[in-house]
């Protein structure tokens, strides 16, 4: 056997253990594996690296990536991460625990999940939430399936064309295989069209609709009337929302949505090239038992002490197998802790401040870009930290020029349309530098 820091067995240990088992060699333990399956090669792997070598290997890779100032969103937002969070989430007791099956020695995990569920309900204005899902797009896909079980004899889910493209892609993929029929609500000048919704609803087969709170253009959608229209047809309304913004804009609860989903990444989780993030789902109380995923509830132990457990498990795959509400088991628990610590630190006031700062800076860039004369606003709708303009410079050229100057910005979101995003993390100097670069782009 090899000599390796993670493997504690000495040769003597192995000998003694084999003697107890009553076999001559470790390979004898594989006596039931047909001999031609026993692999004899070296897996094309390199020589084992030492810890220092592996560190240097990754430092070198890391240096090959360009360090860009991010002025883009599209589902991943560059917010500041308070120093406390990495310390808490890297505590071994959280990091190296399994799913909290043994409540007696998992109260740490169970309590933060309970806090997380509570905070997500506070943000979204809903009654109950689950312990997390993989990410926003998969949460939306799960919600589509949930909508079918919340309604009877309905077969179709309508999705708004203004949802982020990756959200639509994942819903389409999941629904296609599961056998959910999809319909689309068209877009009307940067916002989900209510008349398109009404005409689709009139067909009578709609179980639910998925509409964004803030859409792919950054527009804050005016969702008044949407829930009523859907409820009149006995369907449910699912809102795909950005949780950070919900501190200042109307919540799914305010719009009378039935299910809220989205990605918790905007609550301080680093961009990290797309993951790990954390999908969330909250809903009205009548739909709690239709939710996918783990749920934590409060109870008492046999001494009467308050404690927390995984509950409503009869919905889940390990009990219901093929009749489960979903196949999900592992979710993104540690990222739920991340979000919980973030929301604890930011609190009531901090969440307002983050949005205020982002709002001010985004509007500064917006005005500055319009002043260059190279852009025009085609929607004229309210936005928070992300906005879309029509660009006279071709999108890919604009993006390349900005990248050369150290910025990631101007994601193409439609024919001639580019989006920008400014969080509280960007400085005024950076905004001005970006504007200067834009002005230097020659048409």
């Amino acid at each position: 056997m090899s000599n390796f820091a993670y493997f504690p067995h000495t040769d003597d240990d192995i000998r003694e253990m084999l003697d107890r088992i009553g076999v001559g060699s470790v390979d004898d333990l594989y006596g039931d594996v047909p001999a031609d399956f026993m692999y004899r090669g070296d897996f094309g792997l390199p020589d084992a690296m030492s810890e220092q070598q592996v560190r240097e290997f990754f430092e070198k890779l890391d240096s090959k990536d360009s360090k860009l100032k991010v002025f883009a969103g599209a589902g991943a937002y560059d917010h500041y991460t308070p120093a406390v969070i990495p310390y808490i989430v890297s505590r071994s007791e959280f990091l190296t625990a399994y799913t909290p099956y043994q409540a007696e020695i998992s109260q740490g995990t169970l309590r933060y999940i309970f806090e997380y569920q509570s905070m997500m309900c506070i943000l979204t204005g809903m009654d109950a939430g689950n312990a997390s899902l993989y990410d926003g797009p998969t949460a939306a896909a799960e919600a589509a399936r949930m909508a079918l079980s919340c309604t009877k004899h309905k077969t179709r889910i309508l999705i708004s064309r203004t949802l982020l493209p990756n959200v639509i892609d994942v819903i389409e993929t999941y629904s296609g295989y599961h056998g959910i029929q999809l319909g689309y609500i068209s877009e009307d000048k940067g916002q989900t069209s209510l008349s398109s919704l009404n005409s689709e609803l009139s067909k009578g087969d709609v179980a639910g609709i998925i509409v964004p709170g803030i859409n792919k253009y950054g527009v804050i959608e005016d969702l008044s009337g949407y829930a009523d229209a859907v409820h009149d047809e006995k369907g449910v309304m699912i809102e795909y929302c950005d949780p950070s913004s919900l501190a200042v804009i109307k919540t799914p609860g305010d719009w009378n949505a039935d299910i809220a989903v989205g990605d918790g990444q905007s609550l301080g989780i680093p961009l990290c090239f797309g993951g790990p993030y954390v999908g969330f789902m909250t809903c009205k109380k009548e739909y709690v038992r239709k939710m996918p995923g783990r749920v934590v509830g409060e109870t008492r132990d046999s001494d009467g002490k308050r404690c927390f457990v995984l509950t409503l498990q009869a919905r889940e795959q390990h009990i219901r197998r093929e009749k489960a509400t979903s196949n999900i088991c592992s979710n993104e628990s540690l990222m739920a802790l991340f979000v919980t610590v973030y929301l604890s630190l930011m609190g009531k006031e901090g969440m307002k401040r983050v949005n205020d700062l982002s709002y001010g800076k985004a509007h500064r860039l917006y005005s500055g870009l319009l002043e260059t004369g190279l852009f025009s606003d085609v929607f004229h709708r309210p936005f928070l930290n992300e906005f879309t303009l029509e660009s006279k410079i071709p999108a890919n050229e604009l993006q390349r020029k900005l990248m050369d100057a150290g910025f990631f910005a101007a994601i193409e979101v439609g024919e001639g349309l580019v989006s920008f995003c400014v969080t509280e993390k960007r400085t005024e100097e950076e905004i001005d530098a970006l504007l200067k670069t834009v002005k230097e782009v020659r048409l």
Partner: protein, 501 residues
């Protein structure tokens, strides 16, 4: 562990803050958002200071058991040591700052991680290529089945709507199949605990999309008839899916690709040492054989002819898109670092030592615990409760005494400082205790676990009442799970925002 009873909401006091952000400059704030779109009152989040937050969560952590605090013999979960260097690598500031939609040319380092990990996993498993979109094992299963269906669709073979799942399978298998729109057909286990080949044969026809298998299976047994099963399933036009939940015993020993499997997922948070995080984030990359590469989900990293890396973002043959961006990159970094440290020298020991540990525990405890299936196991095995559970039939002079259950044994183990094994699974037995040590546990740790299990077997005979009330030394005693499910309280309630479900 000490009991700590606060929730963060209960520390809240009006006027306290825990953030450090500049004041807003004069000018526009979110107050300028039109009234019809604005939240009416701010969210009632806690108002706490930074020290409050740090102490609160540190206290919570101290009520938790993790791999770093003790032995975690949880069957089918592969709770191996999580190397610390992996954490440092995943937290390198450059990687953390990458936006997932940055142009390919600006993320060549990150893309080379995908490429390198793809190559390494493919070599270790005998697959051709992997996709990294899936964020967990069950997500990998779903993705793998999507690929399976897409493959049949592309061949115009539309009527393959059934998937065969052994009765010993993890619950995720049938749940994933249904999520993917497939009908589940269960195949029985034989007396040895393996897939019953004779029962399988009549199930195979041109409506079968494929079979999902875990090998070794959930009883820890190698499906030694896999060659025959593969030939049968392929013979009817179906594909073989390998559930990677139990890959660890084969790590460095044998490859699913060589056994005839066409599609598989790998739980990086099991076999490749990334931390479980209390239930994620994990990663469940899916590998496929050569014939199925075109069906892999997008986006997918490829190496261009000039040696640079690029991303395929759409492909008509692809099974689709299974997550928002490119999967859990942070987890991929950790797994890749682990593989590089294993290298060709150490990789061959990983599975072998895990199997050694499992067989050693099994042989050491089989006199106290019922071993329904004897013989060699792989990384895990299953006991069916205690041999002498303390139960006594009623005699004319005495009442019947009920035996100590698997639940009691599991709870008592917590008192001895061990996590419990997986219990009441697989469902083939009534009192299942499924034990999986991994290669990172020393003989001393395992011997002390064996000693505790033997002591519990003695206690069952001598002091069963104490066992039924176990655990005694944990921050809380047994919780009332029935009350939790009957009257769910799922959010923090003060009088103001009490919501009864």
């Amino acid at each position: 562990m000490k009991y700590y009873d606060k929730l963060i909401f209960e520390l809240s006091k009006k006027g306290r803050i825990g953030f450090s952000l500049p004041e807003c400059k004069e000018g526009e704030t979110s107050d300028s958002i039109p009234g019809n779109l604005k939240r009416q009152s701010p969210p009632d989040l806690p108002q706490v200071s930074e020290p409050d937050v740090v102490r609160h969560y540190t206290n919570l952590s101290q009520m938790n058991f993790g791999v770093d605090t003790g032995f975690y013999p949880l069957g089918s979960c592969t709770m191996k040591y999580n190397p610390k260097i992996n954490e440092e690598i995943a937290n390198m500031p450059g990687f953390q700052a990458l936006h997932p939609l940055q142009p390919d040319s600006s993320v060549q380092g990150a893309l080379s991680v995908y490429y390198g990990l793809d190559k390494a996993l493919s070599a270790i498993t005998g697959m051709e290529h992997f996709t990294f979109g899936p964020c967990a094992g069950a997500h990998g299963e779903l993705t793998g089945l999507m690929i399976m269906r897409k493959y049949h669709f592309l061949r115009g073979d539309m009527k393959r709507t059934k998937v065969i799942v052994p009765d010993s399978a993890h619950g995720t298998n049938p749940a994933s199949a249904v999520s993917c729109g497939l009908d589940v057909v269960v195949v029985k286990s034989d007396a040895e605990g393996l897939v019953d080949v004779d029962s399988l044969k009549p199930l195979l026809d041109d409506t079968v999309a494929g079979i999902m298998m875990t090998n070794p299976n959930t009883l820890g047994l190698f499906e030694k008839n896999i060659k025959e099963i593969a030939a049968l399933v392929h013979g009817c036009g179906g594909l073989l899916y390998y559930d990677g939940a139990n890959l660890n015993p084969l790590l460095g020993v044998a490859r699913p690709g060589d056994m005839g499997f066409d599609i598989m997922h790998v739980n990086l948070h099991k076999t490749f040492s990334t931390p479980h995080g209390g239930g994620g984030p994990g990663a469940g990359p899916v590998g496929v054989s050569k014939e199925l590469v075109d069906c892999l989900p997008v986006p997918r990293v490829v190496r261009n002819d000039d040696g640079t890396y690029g991303i395929i973002r759409s492909d008509k043959n692809s099974a689709g898109t299974v997550s928002g961006f490119m999967g859990n990159f942070g987890i991929l970094l950790r797994a890749y670092a682990y593989i590089l440290m294993l290298g060709k020298q150490n990789v061959k020991s990983a599975g072998r030592l895990a199997v050694l540990n499992a067989n050693y525990i099994k042989e050491s405890l089989k006199d106290c615990y019922k071993l329904p299936i004897t013989g060699l196991c792989k990384h895990e095995f299953v006991f069916d409760g205690l041999i002498d559970d303390g139960s006594r039939d009623a005699t004319p002079d005495s009442e019947e005494i009920k035996g100590v259950t698997t639940l009691d044994v599991a709870k008592r183990l917590l008192d001895y400082g061990f996590h419990a094994p997986t219990i009441y699974f697989p469902m083939l037995f009534h009192q299942s205790i499924m034990i999986e040590p991994t290669e990172t546990e020393s003989k001393e740790t395992i011997d002390s676990f064996i000693t505790a299990m033997k002591k519990i077997a003695e206690e069952a005979k001598n002091d069963p009442d104490s066992l039924r009330k176990a655990p005694h030394l944990t921050p809380i005693k047994r919780p009332d799970e029935t009350a939790a499910a009957r009257n769910p309280v799922l959010t923090f309630m003060d009088e103001k925002n009490a919501v009864r479900i």
